[in-house]
Symmetry: C2
Subunit: 335 residues, 2 copies
């Protein structure tokens, strides 16, 4: 409950000097500094955020924007891990992350834009977008126009946006390399054949190794029917690539279903076919067999993003931020 005034009284200094000492801004004699430091500890002084914000008209709040499809959509534990990381870093700087969920299609929604303007109104010190999509880009631009530093967690570096991004290409590349090292040569990439860094990583690895590219295109389905989708995928893989001995799946969800499918078709994982998932979701741990999978370091991602954002906030850093983060192979039993 101690305020600057209390510290001033205790030390015999003026509030002003105390304030400067605490913030290490401006001239303070060594003696005064020591007095203040001691009093701060003794009285357990904590600055009043509201007063700070009011006076300096900036807040100590970092808005974390998570754009999700639907109120009913499953909560994303990967997003949560990022938030953990963000929080971990920010608390060291006494900033307060504040989570904002915006229900909105990743495409665009006027409603979300309005919600966002409310968020801007509270003048957050900075904004973190947990994912990259059209809506997030749009809001990023709005934030920038409003003069509020923002950063994006994404999957590719960009010259237009400050971002910390995950190198999915490298992740899948390394996954393929691992399968090669294990002696697999007929490696299938199972997923949507869209232009995606995962796909690129697979292709690059296959080309580098001089083996042939084997894409099996799987249409993505809803999560509730993933086991069916997976089974169908297993059938498709075996019919299109009968001699397959390794599979890189587009997601853990898909991989988990494929594993079930292989099993029911009499193929053993990993003995007959090694299988690698993607994302290291909780599911990967409980699949049968538990999935070897390509993982983002979500918490680390959060930490790095918070750190980068704060550099923007504090140092008015104008250099484009582009931080690349590596994916790691988590070894379990499917490969």
């Amino acid at each position: 409950m101690a305020s600057l005034k209390d510290i001033a009284a205790k030390t015999g200094l003026s509030m002003n000097t105390v304030s400067r000492a605490i913030r290490h801004s401006g001239y303070v004699s060594e003696k005064a500094q020591k007095l203040v430091d001691a009093a701060v500890v003794e009285l357990n002084y904590q600055p009043n955020r509201a007063a700070q914000s009011l006076r300096s008209s900036r807040s100590y709040e970092i808005a974390v924007i998570n754009i999700v499809n639907e109120p009913s959509s499953a909560c994303d534990s990967m997003a949560m891990d990022k938030v953990f990381g963000i929080k971990e870093y920010l608390t060291t700087d006494s900033y307060e992350p504040n989570m904002h969920y915006m229900y909105s299609s990743p495409e665009y929604s006027a409603e979300s834009e309005k919600l966002f303007s409310n968020i801007l109104w509270q003048k957050p010190a900075g904004i973190i977008f947990l994912s990259e999509n059209a809506m997030a880009m749009k809001l990023y631009n709005i934030a920038e126009k409003a003069g509020i530093p923002a950063i994006l967690i994404s999957y590719a570096g960009s010259l237009e946006y400050d971002s910390v991004y995950v190198d999915r290409r490298q992740g899948v590349y390394d996954g393929v390399k691992y399968l090669l090292k294990k002696g697999r040569r007929n490696i299938v990439f199972a997923g949507q054949k869209i232009s995606d860094q995962r796909f690129e990583g697979y292709n690059a690895a296959v080309v580098d190794a001089g083996i042939s590219s084997r894409i099996v295109s799987i249409k993505s389905g809803g999560l509730e029917e993933i086991s069916k989708t997976g089974r169908d995928a297993a059938v498709k893989i075996l019919s299109e690539q009968p001699d397959v001995d390794g599979v890189i799946a587009y997601s853990d969800y898909l991989a988990s279903g494929i594993a079930l499918g292989f099993k029911s078709l009499g193929k053993r994982v990993p003995e007959d076919i090694a299988l690698i998932g993607f994302d290291n979701r909780e599911l990967a741990m409980f699949s049968s067999p538990p999935l070897t999978t390509i993982a983002q370091p979500n918490r680390e991602l959060g930490r790095l993003t918070a750190k980068a954002l704060l550099s923007k906030v504090l140092l008015k850093n104008t250099k484009k931020i582009q931080i690349k983060v590596k994916m790691e192979l988590v070894l379990r039993q499917s490969a």
Copy 2:
């Protein structure tokens, strides 16, 4: 960017009257009210939270405390769903929920207590504890002593704590009833034989149905080894209760492992043995077969808790809050 002063200037009223009109507190003539309302819209006025907090020395922040074992522990999607619900409700009242993770054993930690005192220092309008454990109870008491309304999401009503609680007893009771309806008579409860509402629910249902109680005690293990634990559990169940035709498992994790175990022992789920899990975790959807499970309505829980807390905050409600929430059986394929 408009302030009270701007509205006052525009309407020709005093700041004071404007303030009262906006907050609907105290006497304001109909005419003045209309003037203010119009100006608010026209100037797009938003109150400055920092100023409000500073002056009234209370914040509009609801602290949401999630006590987790370890920084490395998996992020709990059930907790996240609760937060969604909380947020959903609070935004209607322009309160701002603020998530605080406290890494701490659920038992006790001096460090967490210190962290908590920092949170208290920011004078949140209210506090929500997402889970019930010794640490949360301790902090609840500290909050109460500090005069800050708090509420607990828990598993049992209590005369000492305001809480919104999930009726696990009823959940399991209904689960057993469902198995009975499906013609199962030899129903095993697989879990830790601790005094727990799940256990009570099972026992009550079994007694009511006049069938015998079949408890198979499973030691809980880490999540990474759950499939092994589950297999062992399946073996144990079949050896202790060879004629088992239904199983209520302590958790989805356990149930998922047991399903694998049964399958490898040649038992079909649900044909030979119906299996019901608990908690409706993501995993339940992806198990083989997908698990019928007893679910908490987490989002609803969050909404109700936020609502109850706000009643405490706004109305200085002193009546003990005890809101019981029912669990629902989510039907999938394992039973």
